[in-house]
């Protein structure tokens, strides 16, 4: 039962299962099929999403349920909000999370607030899938990691999976969820393979996972940076240091206790996040720990993040923009005051 599929396939499979299970589930987005109304592509897609993540679905579900949209993010994301509020369960794709600039109102002021403003008399079971992350040489407007912006918005739930297994189970949970959920997909993870069972399963939002147990320090990673943390953790073993790697998986709700329990044990906290460093999920987790976990901590809370600058195009710059295992080793070395760690 060790079926290995990619992150991208896991998402595709989750969409397929969700659409089979509930006919109210529809997909909307730019080129989620592609080639709409092209004569020779009636039952087939031209693209299946800009990265092919939704490929093959139009064959099974048809163009009535896989809706290509114009380049009108405010239009179709806003439409998705009320499509959800009036009885459907749409999964709208915001191709790159950077495009939220074109439709923040629909997410922040409409989708997120409808239920509260109406005194609980509406629900918005909307899932927004969106790509984030640097490392793709896609430059400043296609590489941001904006989950912090969404986590800040009451009424929105936020999911950032780090493995194919989590991606499938969390996406199914997001689609089942009766609140608006923004589901982040790191474009550089799409081809990463992992073990994923075939059937339908969900992972509850708000439940983190210890990706690697350890007793000496806690590293919380966000999305792909969980992998960076795991790589660093493996290297730390050579120095006899056992790092516990925690993956919150969803940022809102955030599993605070998994983090607090971990630092209760390790007394040290590092957060690895590739988003920019100000008012971010890294600061959010740090502040939570500096409040509720202060008494467990023996050392400053460190955040390994991108610098306060846009994502540069040049690979030479983008590579140093991102967190790396080496940067983690350097910080651990300072934290544990053992210089030899950096030279591992």
């Amino acid at each position: 039962m060790t079926r290995m599929i990619t992150f991208s396939q896991a998402i595709n499979e989750a969409l397929q299962l969700a659409m089979r299970k509930d006919e109210n589930v529809i997909l909307m987005g730019e080129d989620v099929a592609g080639g709409a109304e092209v004569d020779h592509l009636q039952d087939e897609e031209a693209w299946g999403g800009v990265m092919g993540v939704t490929a093959g679905l139009v064959q099974e579900f048809g163009r009535d349920r896989i809706l290509d949209t114009p380049i009108s993010e405010a239009g179709y994301i806003g439409a998705a909000v009320t499509t959800a509020a009036t009885g459907m369960r749409p999964v709208a794709e915001l191709m790159f999370n950077d495009f939220i600039g074109s439709c923040l109102d629909e997410v922040m002021n409409q989708g997120a607030k409808l239920r509260y403003m109406f005194g609980g008399k509406a629900k918005v079971p909307l899932t927004i899938r969106t790509m984030h992350g640097a490392g793709f040489r896609a430059a400043a407007q296609h590489s941001q990691s904006l989950y912090g912006m969404f986590t800040a918005i009451p009424g929105i739930k936020v999911v950032v999976p780090s493995t194919p297994y989590d991606a499938k189970g969390l996406l199914l949970a997001a689609i089942e969820d009766d609140d608006p959920v923004v589901f982040f997909e790191d474009k550089t993870l799409y081809n990463v393979k992992g073990e994923v069972p075939e059937g339908y399963y969900t992972i509850p939002l708000g439940q983190g996972e210890i990706k690697r147990p350890g007793s000496d320090l806690t590293i919380v990673g966000i999305g792909k940076q969980v992998q960076t943390a795991l790589t660093a953790a493996e290297q730390l073993v050579k120095k006899g240091i056992e790092a516990e790697v925690v993956d919150p998986r969803s940022l809102s709700p955030l599993d605070e206790s998994i983090i607090l329990d971990s630092i209760m044990k390790t007394n040290r906290l590092i957060i690895v996040d590739e988003a920019n460093p100000r008012c971010s999920i890294a600061t959010d987790i740090s502040a939570m720990a500096a409040d509720k976990g202060f008494d467990y901590l023996d050392a400053p809370i460190k955040m390994i993040t991108a610098p306060h600058c846009p994502v540069p195009f040049s690979p030479a710059l983008e590579d140093i923009y991102l967190p790396t295992p080496d940067k983690i080793l350097k910080v651990v070395s300072e934290m544990i005051e053992d210089d030899s760690i950096v030279k591992l």
Binding site: I26, D64, L67, T69, P70, S72, E73, A74, G75, Y76, I77, G78, A79, A80, V81, T82, T83, A84, A85, T86, G87, M88, D105, E106, N109, Q110, L114, R115, Y116, M117, F118, G119, G120, K121, A122, K123, P154, G155, K157, D177, D178, D179, G206, S252, P253, L254, D255, E256, S257, M288
Partner: protein, 338 residues
């Protein structure tokens, strides 16, 4: 102004009564809110619909609960025309627990999803995509429902106008876009802010029908809306109706209205008043008797007073309500100290 009399056939006596009743409800509700605000009894921003009654009523006359409307910051009239209860509305303006939104929305977010009223909106232009979404559900679920988007002349310059209408047009959705052109967006004249002569002229850019009607004449609005709603129900796609109208009060309560001229104001409030014209019409056409009209006015007045009393006597929401209904479900500890 003369009411377009050829339309008497389209309006039954029963419908005529409903229309006049709703117009009265709106007018009297708004006049009363104006007073209450002046007395310092109502908190927040209040935008009154008085003067524009014919638009909401002429359009909603063709809708029932399964149809949806999206509204604006100036939403009381749409609420009433779509069948919301005055008690719950007034209580909402007071911020009471018995309000339509349990006091959480207020005037700018007043809503009643059960009645198909998808909410007033504090964001100008917010309604275009939302109406389109409701239209999409109707099409996908084949409910036969229609969605109406009410919007102001100012909203017609927001990007969502373009995106929402284009989307409804290419998907051939059952949506009716209703411009309420009252000549101003806040203190900015329509003619200054909009490069078009009429908002309805923009319909061509989306290959949909566009029509200008006298928005002070409820029969003209009724007529145009009938065509558009039927078209939508038959699966022929969206339409745009522009209703030329006038707001009797300021943009919001407190506006000194320096930008208006007194002649315009006088002619609109005194001569062209939508209620007065419609009342005269009903009597002339013998659709409703004067006695009935008088009785309706009296009972609406009573209903409005009752709503004030209801609102005043209603309890305020309590601390426990503050963080309720942010989500359907959310399992996370409290954050920060409050």
């Amino acid at each position: 102004m003369k009411i377009s009399e050829e339309m008497v056939q389209g309006i039954t006596s029963e419908k005529a009564k409903w229309m006049y009743q709703k117009m009265c409800e709106i007018r009297m509700f708004e006049d009363r809110v104006h007073e209450l605000f002046g007395q310092g009894l109502l908190p927040g921003f209040i935008h009154l619909y008085a003067g524009e009654e014919a638009v909401a009523v002429g359009v909603c006359a063709h809708l029932d609960d399964k149809d949806s409307i999206t509204s604006t910051h100036r939403g009381h009239g749409h609420c009433i025309a779509k069948g919301c209860e005055l008690d719950g509305m007034m209580a909402e303006l007071y911020g009471k627990a018995t309000g339509l939104c349990n006091g959480k929305g207020g005037s700018m977010h007043i809503a009643d999803v059960e009645k198909g009223m998808l909410g007033a909106n504090g964001i100008v232009g917010g309604g275009f995509p939302l109406a389109t979404g409701a239209g999409l559900t109707a099409k996908l679920k084949k409910t036969g429902a229609v969605a109406v988007c009410f919007f102001g002349d100012g909203a017609g310059n927001h990007g969502t106008f373009h995106e929402g209408i284009n989307l409804a047009a290419i998907w051939n959705l059952p949506v009716v876009f209703v411009a309420e052109n009252n000549g101003y967006a806040e203190a900015t004249p329509f003619e200054y802010a909009s490069s078009c002569t009429n908002i309805a002229d923009r319909a061509e850019a989306y290959n949909i029908p566009g029509e200008v009607v006298d928005g002070k004449d409820v029969t003209a609005v009724f007529d145009a809306a009938q065509r558009a709603v039927e078209r939508a129900r038959k699966g022929e796609g969206p339409s745009l109706i522009e209703c030329k109208t006038y707001r009797n009060y300021g943009h919001f309560e407190g506006d000194a209205q320096k930008y208006k001229t007194s002649e315009d104001k006088k002619s609109h409030v005194e001569e062209l008043d939508a209620l007065k014209t419609f009342r005269d019409y009903l009597i002339r056409q013998e659709l409703v008797t004067e006695v009935d009209l008088d009785e309706m006015e009296r009972s609406v007045k009573e209903a409005v007073e009752k709503s004030v009393k209801f609102a005043e006597e209603s309890p305020l929401p309590t601390a426990a309500d503050l963080t309720k209904d942010v989500y359907v479900s959310y399992e996370t500890p409290e954050r920060g100290e409050q």
